[in-house]
């Protein structure tokens, strides 16, 4: 029993309460978007926030907070609409009446794209940047920016489908 307890203590002490072991707090996943000249489509950006963390939502309730934003690099091949974020969740700061608007876990950002009729078939890249500021229930991290590349495949076919469906 004594040996078991010692092993357990050693194990528990080894799990350093102070350390964040995973580097990536926010990860982004994008797939190819299939587009047709003259038609509209949605690029889907899936964002994963590390368990226990959240990022400030795109609409914050305090002007000093840093909202999540998706900045799109202008692209002459497409007409790109505003990023559509999901509804925010509420996060209460412990011991206060303050609620933050946040995103956590997995969420999706949609980007409306219209492909002009003159755009030729091919594979294009729309560049974007996700800017966010993450916190957990105890601490906050500096704002960060993730560079994204959204691949858009333009086909002359009128029927298209998303990859993997």
């Amino acid at each position: 029993m004594l040996i078991g307890s010692i092993i357990l203590i050693a194990w528990f002490m080894g799990v350093d309460q102070l350390q964040v072991r995973e580097k990536e707090i926010v990860s982004v996943f994008v797939e190819e978007t299939f587009a047709t000249p003259g038609a509209k489509c949605d690029a889907i950006i899936r964002v994963k926030v590390k368990e226990g963390y959240h990022i400030q939502a795109n609409k914050v309730n305090d002007a000093s907070l840093i909202p999540a934003t998706l900045r799109i690099t202008p692209n002459s091949k497409f007409n790109i609409g505003k990023a559509i974020f999901p509804p925010y969740k509420l996060f209460q700061l412990e011991g206060t009446d303050n609620y933050l608007h946040v995103f956590d876990s997995l969420f999706t950002i949609r980007l409306h794209i219209k492909t002009p009729a003159i755009t030729k078939a091919g594979r294009y890249i729309i560049k974007a940047q996700l800017h966010y500021q993450a916190c957990d229930a105890k601490t906050c991290l500096f704002p960060k920016t993730l560079d994204l590349e959204l691949p858009i495949v333009v086909s002359q076919n009128t029927i298209y489908h998303r990859k993997g469906t």
């Binding site: 309460q17 102070l18 350390q19 072991r21 305090d62 412990e94 906050c140 500096f142």
Partner: protein
């Protein structure tokens, strides 16, 4: 069966006591606080040296930090309660411009100095070695509170990753009371 029950009981006790220990664990306690010389938002010079003999409460902040903003009114309240007892409160803002900090902190009407750690070097010097190794050193201390005693030793360090968020500064005030009674 009895052996198994005893083992389980012992393991539970070990878990609970170790968890409590981890909750209470604060870094750098008893160490000499790193010295610094910084300018405040109103261009005055502050250093650890000139505050010798006082109890110093330092809060590392940024304007966008929700924990810092939630705590800000309570920090001002703490200062009002303790300023006549030889306690100096100060905020060290990490890596933000003077104009932004001045503008943002206006709403809190701080009567204690807000210092500018423009390059984050002071913040980094207060990051305990080995803690949060994946983070930038100047990021580790954000939203933390420290109390430095009259001899320049760190006596309280609520590095938020090790303690629960205490917006009302209950633990810091308890420590100040302890130090003032010594």
């Amino acid at each position: 069966m009895k052996y198994f029950q005893k083992l389980c009981s012992s393991l539970i006790i070990v878990f609970v006591t170790t968890a409590l220990y981890a909750q209470e664990k604060q870094p750098m306690i008893g160490q000499t606080a790193p010295s610094f010389e910084l300018k405040s938002v109103d261009d005055k010079d502050y250093s650890m040296e000139q505050m010798k003999g006082k109890l110093i409460v330092i809060h590392f902040a940024t304007t966008w930090c929700p924990f810092c903003n939630a705590e800000a009114p309570n920090l001002e309240l703490l200062y009002q309660l303790y300023k006549d007892k030889g306690v100096q409160v100060m905020i060290i803002d990490v890596k933000e411009g003077k104009d932004l900090v001045t503008q943002s902190f206006k709403r809190f009407n701080f009567s204690f100095p807000a210092l500018l750690d423009n390059d984050g070097k002071v913040a980094a010097s207060y990051a305990p070695a080995g803690v949060l190794p994946d983070l930038a050193r100047d990021e580790v201390v954000l939203a933390s509170n420290l109390i430095i005693d009259r001899e320049g030793k760190i006596r309280f360090y609520s590095l938020l990753n090790t303690t629960s968020f205490d917006a009302k500064l209950t633990m810091a005030r308890k420590m100040l009371d302890e130090l003032l009674s010594q």
